[in-house]
Amino acid sequence: MIQIENLSIDLGEFRLRDIGLSIHDGEYMVVLGPTGAGKTVLVECIVGIYRPKTGRVIVDGHDVTDLYPEERHVGYVPQDYALFPNMTVARNVAYGLEARKAPRADVEKRVREMMDLLGIAHLDCRLPLNLSGGEKQRVALGRALITQPRILLLDEPLAALDENLRSGLAAELRRVHRTLHGTFLHVCHSFEETADVADRVAIMKEGRLAQVGTIEEVLARPADLFVAEFSRARNFLHGTAERIGNGCRVRLNGGPILLSDYGAFDGPVTVAIRPEDIALDGPAQAGGATSWPATVTAIRPKPTHTEIELDAGFPLVAHDRSAPGGPSLSVGDPIAVHVRAQAVKVFPRAS
């Protein structure tokens, strides 16, 4: 179990403020945030490259804040993998065992097992210079995992790979995580990648934690507008809220009225609606749904859905997940859109 308590650090343009995060044993945690949010600095504080200004890093109950990296026993796969260029793949993987003076026969056996697990046994005599991105990633993973660290830190492990490899290697990471029952902390900037691997996600913004929770929690109840935006809620509308019981009624600036049970708010607000929460056509759903007439302005087929741009007096983006050949729409068609009250996320806005 890794606990990070009130961690703050200043590094020129990068700063972390009061980070508090705990990662349970066997958990796959993803730290998600845009470039410059301080994700890499957080990882480097856990590795021990930087000493935080305040706060503590606790690994399995031991305070390691003042320990050198070599005394912390955390695995580290940096962004560019940093494979040792002067050693073969096998020597790279063996490095951690040799650094810890493991017996020679033991080293050979464990290196063999690790390379078999990751499917890189055939690369043992190659130099890192000649490996592909996916191969490099596996070697870096093997090198970090061979010492059985208490936690594995992965800094943007999939960023350097091309699109096709990415989902395959994300599944591979999950498999390794399951096989070894490890505790993983994975840093990335893509919500889709996060959704592929994470048990829980910590979303960072400008050196602070914006929200920590499961993917479902983040999708259902984003903590603020930034989280909503980062988790791909595409529709943001300004309006004025009026409290009704536990929910509210929002009069949008264009005139139409939206119902929401997200929270009781009064005053100026921004409303976020996910594209897949906008139902197209069909009968208006019961349970406080809001409906508008709209016109289709653009249709963009994507691999998993069809993206439909609408004009309802204001622009909207909806996702149609019905199979191709289902209800076919064309640009200019009039259509009714429905939004359930649960799908309308409301965030107070400074006027």
Binding site: V47, P69, G75, P78, Q79, A82, F84, G96, A99
Partner: protein
């Protein structure tokens, strides 16, 4: 696009021109030697050619090729020994310092950068002059007096002046080399349980090997070729009788402060032009070989 290509052509043409000029110069040195491989005739005896008490102005028969002259071999000895000692000290000081400077920002970094870079481009005679002033006046001179040692115009002074110049040369290469080695190599190595020293030794140092060797070669060549600085700071010969040198120094013929570059100038000054040319040819050959070695390093990562 076209203009940048024609600019590139101009640069290449200039590079060829300079190469041809250098080739002609060194060929001429060689040809003039080939004609005079055994230059018979008069040789003006200089103080540097025999014991320090020899009368100047005496003329004797030139025995044969320059390699028959004991003074030549003494000069070679002196050059090789001082340049090697210098390179050793430069590596000892310069490699760790370069590593530290490439990994950490230190106070006064700009001053260090400017000083070291200017030592490379300054006329080395002015570097020698600076050293002379430092060692002749002020606190360092007081220290010398108290310790009873006096550095300028002695054998160690050759190493001192060479050290300043070859340290600047070597460190410019080593700093660039270490700056080019990903610091994450060490971070990962340490996260795997290596101490910072072991991480440096097993990962950073091997990754920087090529650059370190190139820096060593450049530092050695710079030291061996040093002329102006030595002339200023060490003079052309030691102002001490032969007997005051240790048997080892005498055995190595180190009692004269005339490394090859200085010897070359002295010989030409005394009118032994062919002899001076011959030394010049040796110096050109050594420099060309060392630069060629660095080229091979760049291509394949090893020298031989």
């Amino acid at each position: 696009m076209a203009s940048s290509r024609s600019q590139a052509r101009l640069v290449v043409a200039l590079a060829y021109l300079v190469t041809v000029m250098l080739l002609m110069g060194s060929c001429w040195l060689f040809v003039s030697n080939a004609g005079q491989l055994w230059p018979k005739g008069e040789l003006h005896i200089t103080k540097e050619m025999e014991g320090w008490r020899t009368d100047e102005g005496r003329v004797r028969e030139f025995a044969g090729g320059f390699w028959h002259e004991p003074a030549f071999w003494r000069s070679v000895n002196l050059t090789v020994v001082t340049a090697t000692i210098t390179t050793f000290i430069a590596a000892l000081v310069g490699i760790p310092a370069s590593y530290a400077l490439s990994r950490h920002r230190v106070p006064g970094q700009a001053v260090i950068d400017v000083l070291f870079s200017s030592v490379i481009v300054l006329p080395s005679a002015s570097v020698g002059l600076c050293l002379l002033i430092v060692f002749q006046y002020g606190p360092i001179f007081e220290l010398e007096k108290r310790l009873g040692v006096y550095v300028p115009y002695t054998l160690p002074s050759i190493v001192v002046v060479q050290l300043v110049l070859s340290l600047a040369m070597g460190m410019s290469v080593w700093r660039a080399t270490f700056a080019g080695v990903n610091p994450r190599f060490e971070h990962v190595a340490r996260s795997l349980g290596s101490s910072s020293w072991r991480a440096f030794r097993t990962v950073t140092l091997p990754s920087a090997k090529t650059g370190i060797i190139a820096g060593l070669i450049l530092a050695w060549t710079r030291a061996a070729a040093e002329f102006g600085g030595v002339l200023m700071f060490s003079g052309t010969f030691a102002e001490k009788p032969l007997e005051t040198f240790s048997p080892l120094a005498r055995g190595l013929q180190l009692h004269k402060a005339d490394p090859l570059a200085v010897n070359m100038w002295v010989q030409i000054e005394y009118g032994n032009v062919e002899y001076g040319f011959a030394i010049g040819f040796v110096l050109v050959t050594v420099s060309a070989l060392s630069v060629y070695a660095i080229h091979k390093l760049g291509g394949k990562g090893y020298v031989w």
